[in-house]
């Protein structure tokens, strides 16, 4: 009996659980630091940490392609773009001059209320108790995703290239003096 109970205890807190809680704490903590950092450069760096934690979650769920794409596109390309823009316009720490305490309080309360409402709505959700498959399953591998992307989703894929072209043209047109 004692042995079974001990086995149950180790089963309860497996390596996957520990990794999940570690990555979740990392993601939420660095997301809070994004919001409360004074300097925008530190916000960008903490947001990179958040994206790496989310990539870790993807890899934990064996969505390997999305994990790598998240690292390359978000933590790599988009955040470097943010960092360039922040450093381009030498923002000082006093770039937010007048801080209204009431607005900060109202924003925090509004965010907390939304959190409360959404978590409370989860109580009667239909998906409660359903499990997710961690660390196994091959739908996240690049083979299956590529097959689906180039057969079933080939039209949206090609349209997204037009979107990129128009975004590039738009960015150049807007950025031009």
């Amino acid at each position: 009996m004692q042995v079974r109970k001990k086995h149950h205890l180790t089963d309860l807190m497996s390596g996957t659980d520990i990794l999940f809680y570690f990555l979740s704490a990392l993601a939420i903590g660095s997301a809070i630091l994004v919001v409360i950092s004074k300097s925008p450069v530190y916000s960008v760096l903490w947001l990179i940490v958040t994206f790496f934690a989310i990539s870790g979650h993807y890899i934990l769920m064996n969505a390997q392609f999305l994990g790598i794409v998240n690292m390359i596109v978000y933590a790599g390309a988009i955040m470097v773009l943010f960092l360039f823009v922040v450093m381009l316009m030498n923002l000082n720490a006093d770039s937010e001059p007048q801080k209204n305490k009431w607005i900060m309080l109202a924003g925090t309360v509004a965010g907390g209320c939304l959190l409360l409402v959404l978590v409370a709505a989860l109580k009667n959700a239909e998906v409660r108790g359903l499990g997710i498959e961690m660390k196994t399953g091959d739908i996240g591998l690049i083979n299956n995703l590529g097959k689906a992307l180039f057969t079933e989703y080939v039209v949206p894929f090609e349209i997204s290239s037009i979107l990129f072209l128009s975004a590039m043209v738009g960015a150049v047109m807007i950025g031009k003096k």
């Binding site: 996957t16 999940f20 993601a27 939420i28 997301a31 994004v34 919001v35 925008p40 916000s43 958040t50 989310i54 993807y58 769920m61 064996n62 392609f65 999305l66 794409v69 998240n70 596109v73 978000y74 390309a77 988009i78 773009l81 943010f82 823009v85 316009m89 923002l91 607005i103 109202a106 924003g107 509004a110 965010g111 907390g112 939304l114 959190l115 978590v119 989860l122 998906v127 409660r128 108790g129 359903l130 499990g131 997710i132 498959e133 961690m134 739908i139 996240g140 299956n144 995703l145 992307l149 989703y153 997204s160 979107l163 990129f164 975004a167 590039m168 738009g170 960015a171 150049v172 003096k177």
Partner: protein, 109 residues
């Protein structure tokens, strides 16, 4: 792993993003908080895709693959959105010499 844990994690990240949009005045930080909300939704989509895979794995082996492709397309759209948005912020900084969103109403004249 039950799905509720990932739902609560995604809700927490989303609400931190919303609170950041409401609190901060720096346009770049507001934009970063929007990216944070997008990533919370991406995480939830991947978790639900794995849930549907576990539910329908016996019937077809590619159940839940749509969710992961949606995440891929969200990333594509977010990259385009960031390039245009940052160009707009740079233009705003050039005109107003500030990225405070309270001064954004000066753009109209």
């Amino acid at each position: 792993m039950p799905i509720e844990r990932y739902i609560i994690l995604a809700i927490a990240l989303f609400c931190i993003g919303i609170a950041g949009v409401l609190i901060r005045r720096n346009a770049i930080v507001v934009f970063m908080c929007i990216e944070l909300m997008l990533n919370a939704v991406n995480l939830l989509l991947v978790a639900f895709s794995k849930m549907h895979y576990l539910k329908g794995a016996a019937a077809n082996t590619t159940a839940g693959i749509d969710g992961q492709l949606f995440v891929f397309f969200i990333m594509v759209v977010a990259a385009a959105e960031v390039s245009v948005g940052l160009a707009i912020i740079v233009m705003m900084y050039r005109n107003v010499h500030s990225v405070d969103i309270n001064f954004l109403n000066r753009l109209k004249h």
